[in-house]
């Protein structure tokens, strides 16, 4: 019961029974998807979904905690590259990919913990955080970009400079390899678990403290919290979630290039989060899915302007729905439902 309350609690969109019915139907729709989707379509849907963990992590950090990171792609890249290195060197070992996955996520946790420690324990001003995080991503991009020569290899794996790392192994558990439909289910499961986990987090007591820190860090500290440690914890969670997206990305496409850590890619998660509405997880999940779908469809149809269109969308949304489209819609739906409930038959 207590755990159920964490999921249905008030800090994300959707408390009503109707909401949960729709939610379950939606999950069912994903689960039964392969009945009507070709393996190719399922693979595309996997792609739209695989960025959700990174978006949700940024939503926790920025929307709930008030700390904007502009460099979540750094963790995306760290996990992706490290998975490539570990799994690539253990090619033939049925547990190599799992080790690569654990190693990639652990590296994200360690790097974000060290980096976050210096930011939060030094109590740097909040507006500096986006710059520092972006700088880390760009440094990594620049470093990886110059790893083109043959001397830049780890074991048997070439880093590959701007051409990137290719031939990254599929994910595999023992003798079972995930691709096509099975990879699709693996992504659906991880994304669902990430979403529900974030939802439980924001409805936990720590979630309430996150909101307080977002509003007023000093006031929160004077309510008895070590805000440095709490911000750091959320930063690490967001870093690991971005790493999860990076893992899924390389397992999906079997390659990664330094431009995945570049300025344009760094801006995308911020756009997904802002367009849906950073204050609610579900809003971010919906917009990240929709925007990835739009970008992917546009660019695979040969459209050069996918990013321009996404950027334009951001501007329009920020002008007309500063709190985000989904958050604004949900709020209005709530209000209408409320007035309908409150309006007595005699008074209308």
């Amino acid at each position: 019961m207590k755990y159920l309350a964490l999921l249905t609690g008030p800090e994300d969109i959707g408390q009503s029974r109707l909401f949960w019915i729709v939610f379950v139907l939606l999950v069912l729709n994903f689960v039964l998807g392969p009945l009507w989707m070709s393996e190719f379509e399922a693979s595309n849907v996997s792609y739209y979904l695989l960025n959700l963990p990174m978006a949700l992590g940024l939503c926790l950090l920025w929307g709930y905690c008030g700390v904007l990171s502009f460099g979540q792609v750094a963790y995306f890249g760290i996990a992706g590259y490290l998975y490539g290195i570990i799994a690539g060197n253990m090619r033939g070992d049925p547990w190599g990919p799992l080790l690569g996955e654990v190693g990639g996520l652990a590296a994200c946790a360690v790097v974000s913990a060290i980096f976050g420690y210096f930011m939060f324990y030094a109590r740097v001003q909040r507006w500096i955080v986006p710059i520092l995080t972006l700088v880390l991503a760009l440094l990594l991009e620049t470093f990886l970009g110059q790893t083109a020569g043959y001397q830049w290899r780890v074991g048997s794996v070439q880093l590959g400079g701007y051409n990137g790392m290719t031939g990254i192994p599929w994910f595999q558990l023992g003798d079972f390899t995930f691709f096509g439909y099975s990879f699709y289910y693996y992504v659906v499961l991880l994304v669902l678990v990430s979403y529900l986990g974030c939802r439980a987090l924001v409805n936990s007591h720590h979630g309430k403290v996150m909101l307080a820190m977002r509003e007023d860090p000093l006031r929160t500290e004077l309510l008895g919290y070590d805000i440095r440690a709490r911000q750091l914890a959320v930063f690490v969670i967001a870093g690991v979630l971005a790493g999860l997206s990076g893992l899924l990305y390389v397992q999906w496409g079997n390659y990664i290039t330094p431009s995945q850590l570049g300025l344009v890619q760094a801006a995308l998660p911020v756009i997904w989060v802002a367009v849906g509405g950073r204050s609610k997880l579900l809003a971010v999940a919906i917009s990240a899915y929709a925007l990835n779908w739009i970008t992917y469809s546009l660019s695979s149809a040969g459209n050069q302007y996918a990013l321009v269109i996404i950027g334009g969308l951001l501007v329009v949304v920020m002008l007309f729905f500063p709190d985000g489209i989904v958050v604004t819609l949900a709020r209005n739906m709530n209000r209408q439902a409320l007035t309908r409930l409150l309006r007595r038959p005699g008074r209308s």
């Binding site: 004077l222 309510l223 919290y225």
Partner: protein, 241 residues
Amino acid sequence: MGMPSIVSTTALDKRFGGIVATQHVDLDIPEGELRCIIGPNGAGKSTLFALLCGIHAPDSGHIFLKDRDITALPSFRRVRLGLGLTFQTNRAFHDLTVRQNLEAPFRLPRGGRSSTSEERYQYALSTFGLDTTSDVPARELPHHRLQWLEIAMVLAGGPEVLLLDEPTAGLSPEETLQTARVLRHLNDDGLTIIVVEHDIAFVREVAERVTVLHQGAIFAEGTVADITAHDDVRRIYLGQA
């Protein structure tokens, strides 16, 4: 005689650049007292609170809470040891709901809370008319209820010493009186309270003893009657008010 002191400072000095904010403050608050701190603008009252809570570190001097030297402790540790502060300008979380405001404070798990601190909190909620389940955004509350909300938030943490920086600023006379009554009640119940206050009517209503700060130093200390009769105090402070 008297109770042992719960909060004390020795020779507390704080400068901001060339400005002397506090100098050689030796404060001594016995357990269970309701102390008012008065003084003209810029006397160093808020700075003294900030030093007590660890918002600023003193240049020299020491701070004790229940005989423990807390001078080097970070703010949240001091809060967990029993200090609670409301700010001079209201700092309830205005963009959160009343429920979210009241859910935010650190509280011991239900079994670990003392029943007196729980009773004080419940008392404040009911007399201030605050609903812990209300989804009204705090910013929609009238000013006096925002002030009360911040006091209630701090009481939720179960403090042993409550520091209130001008809790009645901007309140009507009736609201001020009601606040005074609540503080009196909490203090009668054993809570130590230190209030920075400009409103002399309020001071008369609640305080036993008054400390006068002037240019960062303790200028006078005594009962309300002593202080209001003190010629120099009248000159530097009451005369101007």
